[in-house]
């Protein structure tokens, strides 16, 4: 089994039990499949909000949805190394079956965090001196010729000498003759110093360490070596960045005005009233104060429909919030543009189609009529677009 960033696919699955969040799985009863190319297949089953099983299995039948991807992408997405959206949009991750259901898995598990392999003080010292030569900045050491000996005390300690000569740098794990300057420091302090957790002034001022010889040379360390990068990625903790979540809500009193008012009052009386341009004759649904084409005031109303034919339906899969209520709409739904009887051309009227009839709707054009539909009126009507619940097929 291949490793990616030191983690293999099984690590992710084996840790699922620990990472499971019951609060993210309320009301879920389903199995989810994972088909990881060249790695195998796994089935994760959730039963009434608890994680029932994570099994490596050949047969993924019965899963509501299956994720198909490769091991690297899978590990990357789970560890945050690979951007999930990019992988998905770029086709590296595919979901077969119920996409929406699969989306819930994102909330069911905490992020995978690889177990930390701690570095000891000794590990750090070895790594720090081991990388000195590679961190040497040649250009910053022009005309410099000196030796720094660092006597590191403590259990992990030792003596290292850094020899700078002719713009080259050599490190030996020993004393050398005639060092220009000798530093004396404890092992943990040297590690902290190199990681930037403390600084030389503080150490010296606190009596933890001493300098013998040319102190000016010792102070050049920072200029001639690049900063040490902590292989554990530690050092400075990532700053907490604040996000303030607010739903801003301001009450409104929308006036309908006479034109829209007449139209909405018509709906109350189970009538669909279009207003008709006195100049070009086009019908406006809903009614508007002016014909934008002719720039003339439109005051005449004509009752149209209530039946008509669908000219175009928007088949909406995307769930968006309703800005008037803040609630998310249920998907999929169909928004139909209906050419009501009595209207011509592009004078269509937009409304919703009965949810279970979405797949039966045919759009009309030219001489081919679309599906005939009729409005379903509410019993109680208030003068609103939703006095018509929706349209349904007129059989």
């Amino acid at each position: 089994m291949a490793e990616y960033w030191g983690i293999n696919v099984e690590d992710i699955f084996n840790s699922m039990k620990d990472r499971f969040r019951p609060e993210g799985a309320t009301d879920v009863t389903a199995s989810f499949g994972y088909d990881i190319r060249e790695e195998g297949k796994w089935k994760v089953s959730v039963f009434h909000g608890t994680l029932a099983a994570v099994e490596k299995i050949d047969n993924l039948s019965g899963c509501v949805a299956t994720m198909v991807t490769d091991g690297e992408t899978f590990v990357g997405v789970n560890t945050g190394t690979v951007d999930a959206t990019n992988a998905f949009m770029g086709g590296k991750v595919k979901v077969e079956g119920d996409m929406g259901a699969f989306g819930r898995t994102g909330r069911m598990f905490r992020k995978y965090v690889p177990p930390r392999k701690e570095m000891s003080t000794r590990d750090y010292l070895v790594d720090m001196f081991g990388t000195v030569e590679s961190r040497f900045k040649k250009d910053a050491a022009r005309d410099l010729d000196f030796i720094i000996t660092i006597e590191v005390s403590g259990d992990a300690g030792g003596v290292w000498s850094v020899i700078i000569k002719n713009q080259s740098c050599t490190v030996v794990n020993d004393r050398v003759d005639n060092p220009t300057v000798t530093l004396e420091v404890a092992d943990k302090d040297w590690v902290d110093l190199t990681l930037g957790k403390t600084d030389a002034q503080t150490l010296l001022a606190a009596g933890r360490g001493s300098v013998r010889g040319d102190i000016a040379i010792a102070m050049k360390w920072g200029e001639i070596f690049e900063k040490y990068v902590d292989p554990m990625g530690g050092g400075e903790p990532e700053q907490e960045l604040l996000v303030l979540k607010k739903t801003i809500s301001v009450g409104q009193k929308f006036s309908t005005g006479p034109i829209m008012g007449k139209f909405l009052n018509g709906l109350k009386a189970k009538k669909i009233l279009a207003n008709k341009c006195p100049k070009c004759g086009r019908m406006q649904l809903p009614a508007r104060e002016i014909c934008a084409d002719c720039r003339v005031r439109v005051t005449d109303f004509v009752e149209v429909g209530p039946k008509g034919q669908v000219r175009y339906m928007e088949y909406v899969y995307y769930a968006s919030p309703d800005p008037l209520t803040g609630e998310t709409r249920e998907t999929p739904y169909g928004m139909v543009n209906i050419l009501l009887d009595g209207c011509t051309g592009n004078d269509t009227f937009a409304h919703l189609i009965r949810r279970d009839q979405i797949d039966l709707i045919k759009n009309g054009r030219d001489d081919t009529p679309g599906t005939r539909v009729r409005p379903v009126w509410n019993e109680k009507r208030v003068g609103s677009i939703f006095d018509i619940q929706h349209f349904e097929i007129d059989e």
Binding site: G207, R212, L241, K246, I248, T256, P258, I259, P323
Partner: protein, 475 residues
Amino acid sequence: MSKKAEQSESFIVEGKLALPYAYFAGRVGSTFITTIRDQKKIMGVRCPACGTVYVPPRQVCDKDFTDIRNNWVTLGNSGTVVNFTVVRYDDRHLPRTAPFVLALIKLDGADTPFMHILEEVAPENVKIGMRVEATFAAKTTNTILDIDHFKPAPEKVRMTTERPEAGRKAWTPGDEPEMQEKRRGGKPDMSTPVIITAALTGAATMKNQNPAVPYTPAEFAEEANKCWKAGAAMVHVHARADNGMATHEHDRIRATHDAIKEKCPGLIVNLSSAVGMGKTAEQRISQIVAVRPEMASLNTNTMNFSIIDRKTGKIFIDYVFENTFTMLQDFGKAMEENGVKPEIECYDMGGLDNIMLVAKQGFFTYPMNFNFVWGVAGGQAFRAESFIAMMNALPPKANFTTCGVGTEEFPCIMQSCLLGGHMRVGLEDNIRMPNGEFAKGSWELVEVAVRIAECLGRSVATPDEARMIMGLKKK
């Protein structure tokens, strides 16, 4: 409308504008608020170009467009009300029910006041100028309301916003020989104003020891300004690079000098001719000649100048500070020729003798100005009788001031003030207040010196008075 009948069709539909938002505070805003939340500490950012300390913080100074995001300054949690209103209406966006007070509060150390809620005081008792302090919220909202509100605070014991010279008559120099006579007779001249010098940094004190240590020219200017406001007539300056290292770069030293002069044109700037460890004689004096400050330090002997554990005697840094007779002569001449008045640094009686030998060449102008330095590892420690001995060894018409490292600072300046001498304080020598707390800046140490002068009935010299006393040509 044309037709009345149509109007009857109009009606009102109740609706809402309701949308979800997730605002990002950004790094600067997050630092500001999490510090309030977690450390109960209010911070501002200082613009290094114009010196303004802003609250709330921001990434760029909108006045001069300088990037200021990392220049955090910790402010006091108390401040002064500069303006306020009593909100007497209720509305859903308001954090309190009416009536409540919104006030513009200028925190101690900030230049721009900011808005907050003022409570625990009746609205009719709110006054402009009243002192208030922050009460932090028990529960976080991760907004400015992590300060729950401000409430009245006791008056600050002493708030130095301006030099303590108001109402005082200007001093004019009297008969100098008489001054000498008085001192010789054991009667110190307490009528001469006392010159307070603020040594803003040495070559060694770093920000991690006290964050008020200035590095950049703007920081120097700001700190100098505060010291001037607190009562200092002169600042002693060792310029630093951005990383805090002592520098001998002329441009940097000039920038530092000029920044201070721009911010406080009247203040005397006294530069160091020591600069820092491991600098050559050329590096040490060429910058003085290049920048030509009004005054500069002149060190009197080659000596140990080390860092040694005061308790155990362990040597951390061993260093010899070289000041040969040739250097004394060359530096002294260079200064006098360039109109820079030397401040003669004596770390012991030997140093004083050294300078008197060289002075026989006759290039020093009078009065000579001495500084007795106490407590350097390599120089002598402070002793009252040594002080008097040093004073008595001075040549005629000489002035003296003094400074001491660490806790020696306060006894030595008090003795100097008592003997008619002058005082030097500041983060170069000492980073703490007499009670052991960290000084908020050299200015706070200046405030201590001012109090000493007040106790002894001496007035504090203005920069111009200091110039008269020390024989500087007015610039």
